[in-house]
């Protein structure tokens, strides 16, 4: 209990410092920090449309955050969610290309998740067989995915009538808004349900337990018949499931375009936002959920900040960067 309070305090402190320094940066640049923060944090809560939009932003961040959180449990620094999200989106686009009816949706989920899992298997196996550090492996795969998906979207999967994006999800296979006129689709409850499932997996399942043991102390795991390599594989695999799902949903459940932008704009950066969410949520699925909602509000709020206070959108990136910095500092200090 003491440890929990302590870590909440630390998270609070990191948030506080990030916002204070962010305010100073705004003030130096000639913007009004108070008005900026008011429009960024309060306006999204003032209207249901805005709030639903914030929640829609939170869903993919939560899913990629879970990727990183499960990795942390296994003692991994798995930053491959970014590339695996691209691959998930690519799977959805491929499904849209292959079939033009409702069956595109299950096919999208299947292909997207399969691509993502295959993508994560490479750094996982490299780590197990050759001892390649997972950070190196996943960064490499992120870049390969980036250019590969851009190539695919610009060539075979290109939309002839709208060259800046891919073929669209067939209308029958789209997850359209649950409340008309908002961005709130089934993606949001699906993501939240996934977080609950991951929580149950980590807390109650035999494999979740094995992942925790071998993540905390691989020597102990080995001595008592738990194979750390298997735990690494499982953690990578589960992480790829959620990251791949994030990519699929960004295509199949993201109005209005229901496609993948050629510059990957609707999936770009999600993996790294997920890392922020996971660190802010202390690697706990429920914590990651709360953090992703918070980050969703920031995303939504950034638009209002730009309109109401005239403060550029980019300042929320500054704040997020500072937040990561302060959270990472605490991790370093612990080591």
């Amino acid at each position: 209990m003491r440890r929990l309070t302590f870590s909440l305090l630390n998270t609070g402190l990191a948030l506080f410092l990030a916002f204070v320094l962010g305010a100073i940066a705004m003030w130096i640049s000639g913007y009004d920090p108070l008005l900026s923060y008011k429009s960024m944090l309060l306006t999204p809560l003032s209207d249901l449309t805005y709030l639903f939009s914030a929640l829609a932003f939170s869903a993919p961040i939560l899913l990629t955050g879970l990727t990183f959180a499960v990795g942390l449990k296994a003692g991994l620094f798995n930053i491959g969610a970014e590339g695996q999200t691209y691959m998930g989106a690519l799977g959805a686009v491929a499904a849209a290309y292959l079939t033009r009816d409702v069956s595109a949706l299950p096919l999208a989920v299947f292909l997207g998740v399969a691509f993502a899992v295959a993508w994560s298997a490479i750094p996982a196996l490299l780590k197990i067989w050759r001892g390649v550090n997972e950070v190196v492996g996943t960064i490499m795969m992120n870049w390969v995915a980036y250019w590969l998906v851009i190539m695919a979207v610009s060539t075979i999967f290109a939309n002839p009538s709208q060259p800046e994006e891919s073929v669209k999800m067939p209308e029958a296979a789209r997850l359209t808004p649950l409340v008309a006129g908002t961005d709130l689709t089934l993606a949001v409850p699906l993501a939240y349900l996934t977080a609950v499932l991951i929580y149950v997996f980590l807390r109650y399942s035999v494999w979740g337990y094995r992942i925790s043991i071998s993540g905390q102390n691989p020597t102990v795991a080995k001595a008592y018949g738990i194979r750390p390599e298997q735990a690494v594989l499982v953690a990578f695999g589960i992480g790829a499931l959620t990251a791949g799902l994030a990519g699929v949903l960004q295509v199949a459940a993201r109005p209005p375009s229901y496609s993948l932008a050629r510059n990957l704009a609707n999936v770009y950066g999600l993996g790294f936002d997920g890392i922020t969410a996971a660190m802010l949520g202390r690697g706990h699925p429920i914590g990651v959920f709360l953090a992703s909602v918070f980050l969703g509000i920031l995303q939504e709020g950034a638009r209002h900040m730009q309109i109401e206070a005239g403060t550029p959108f980019e300042f929320i990136r500054v704040i997020q960067g500072l937040l990561i910095l302060f959270l990472a500092l605490q991790m370093v200090r612990k080591i």
Partner: protein
């Protein structure tokens, strides 16, 4: 130089009250033994004197003057040096460079003047040290001597030796004692930290006994071993461990021609052994002669290069380092209690933590583990209770083979006794025990069969009755 400690208290950040007001005088030219069980506060007290810890309250005087050493170097300037249990030389530097390093960082060669003086000190003490070899290549006994010379070179007048004999062979212990006597004759004071009573009786001019952070008694010769023990543990429980029946015939472990490599070094070289039902096979030897590799290969943590290992009826494993190899310190007792048998508590892949908790509660009761509760983290337990958790968990596996590696290291007298009794009971019930230990008392107390390991080989092997301590000591030293 006279050193006085007054009313020293130490409370660690985790709340452990390690010292509760200890006062102590150390006179010039005496060997003062600081006796106590693990966790009694001996080492903490001396780390305060040598500048490594700061006292929470209390005062230190050197020749009547109040001092506050802020670090080890500060203390050394006052003439106080400590030789740690886990020696603190810098690997990658030669022995001589390790002495010179206190001068400060430098790229230049160690001066011939320094070398001359260092060699002179070593010669006066009768040490033969290979000064130009990397300290990592030197045997532990020699490293200890390097530390002693280093302390004296830098002007120590009070030398603190923390459990100095744990890493030594019987032969090396003898020569260490001679060195201590010589130091004393030349006017140095020595504080000798130990929990071994025979050592105290042999060399101490005065004994101060610590118990639970308090000074519980002080003795001067002639010593009465029984009273020393009483002061140390409070009460003596001498429940003899009774050996019932003879070893059976059926093997529970067979090892044939086992070779293990660490890099390109053969650390286990053709070991053959058999553990049968109702047999305790004790493998004795100075640490670092391949025992660790042998054990870890048997339980499958390391890979063998060649040879055969057969285990009949499952195994339980009590490793030598409970904090690194047996427990996940940040996790709760419950989570630690089911390691390796998580499947027994699971239905359709989901663990019932309720059942795991009941099992843990049973372990806590059965093995007398003192813990705030089943869900508190294992880090909060004392070393003895951590070990009880490990032993309890392992013995409850119902395995036919128990692999116990230094199972009582670092435990207090009562817990040691308890763990040994448990091992014997398990043996009496029909299991075979592979006991790897460097504590000869333990080996003789428990074993049916003794094997001596030296440089990766079993150099002597036989029933305990035929393996006299004289012979075993010699074999352990490689003679």
């Amino acid at each position: 130089m006279k050193v006085s400690l007054r009313e020293i208290h130490k409370v660690f950040s985790d709340g452990t009250h390690a010292l509760r007001g200890v006062s102590l005088d150390i006179f010039p030219g005496e060997v003062l033994a600081l006796l106590g069980e693990n966790g009694a506060g001996k080492t903490t007290l001396m780390k305060i004197l040598s500048g490594i810890y700061r006292p929470t309250s209390g005062e230190i005087y050197v020749d009547g003057k109040r001092v506050k050493p802020k670090n080890a170097r500060d203390a050394l300037k006052l003439g106080i040096a400590m030789v740690h249990q886990h020696l603190s030389l810098i690997p990658g530097l030669t022995a001589l460079e390790n002495v010179a390093v206190l001068e400060g960082a430098s790229l230049s060669q160690v001066s011939t003047e320094l070398r001359r003086r260092v060699e002179k000190i070593a010669e006066e003490l009768g040490f033969e040290i290979e000064w130009d070899r990397d300290v990592e290549e030197l045997p532990l006994g020699m490293r200890q001597r390097v530390e002693i010379v280093k302390a004296l070179y830098w002007g120590a007048q009070l030398l603190i030796l923390d459990e100095p004999t744990t890493v030594l062979t019987p032969h090396e212990v003898k020569s260490l004692f001679q060195v201590i006597k010589r130091l004393k004759e030349q006017g140095w004071s020595v504080v000798y930290i130990t929990h071994k009573i025979p050592e105290v009786m042999e060399i101490a001019d005065r004994v101060v006994v610590l118990r639970r952070g308090l000074k519980s008694a002080e003795f001067s010769p002639p010593y009465d071993a029984k009273r020393l023990v009483e002061a140390m543990v409070g009460e003596v429980k001498t429940e003899a461990v009774e050996k019932l029946g003879k070893p059976g015939e059926r093997p529970v472990l067979e090892v044939k021609d086992l070779w293990v490599y660490d890099g390109d070094r053969a650390v286990v070289q053709g070991v053959d052994l058999v553990v049968r039902e109702r047999e305790i096979l004790a493998i004795v030897g100075v640490e670092g002669n391949g025992q660790e590799h042998l054990v870890e290969t048997i339980v499958g943590v390391r890979k063998r290069s060649r040879g055969m290992i057969k285990i009949y009826g499952g195994y339980a494993y009590i490793p030598d380092d409970r904090q690194k190899k047996a427990l996940v310190l940040e996790m709760s007792l419950v989570e630690n209690a089911i390691i390796g048998k998580e499947n027994e508590f699971a239905k359709r892949g989901l663990i019932s933590w309720q059942r795991a908790e009941r099992f843990t509660a049973k372990l806590i009761e059965e093995f007398g583990i003192v813990a705030p509760g089943p869900w508190s983290s294992v880090r909060q337990l004392s070393g003895g209770n951590q070990q009880k958790l490990v032993v309890g968990r392992e013995l409850s596996r119902g395995a036919k083979l128990i692999v116990a590696h230094q199972p009582t290291r670092g435990l207090d007298v009562a817990t040691t006794e308890y763990v040994q009794t448990l091992l014997m009971k398990t043996r009496n019930a029909g299991a075979g025990v592979l006991l790897v230990t460097s504590d000869l008392d333990e080996a003789y107390k428990l074993a049916d069969t003794i094997a001596v390991m030296y440089r990766g080989k079993i150099v002597a092997y036989g029933p305990v009755e035929e393996m006299g301590i004289e012979l075993v000591g010699k074999k352990m030293a490689g003679l």
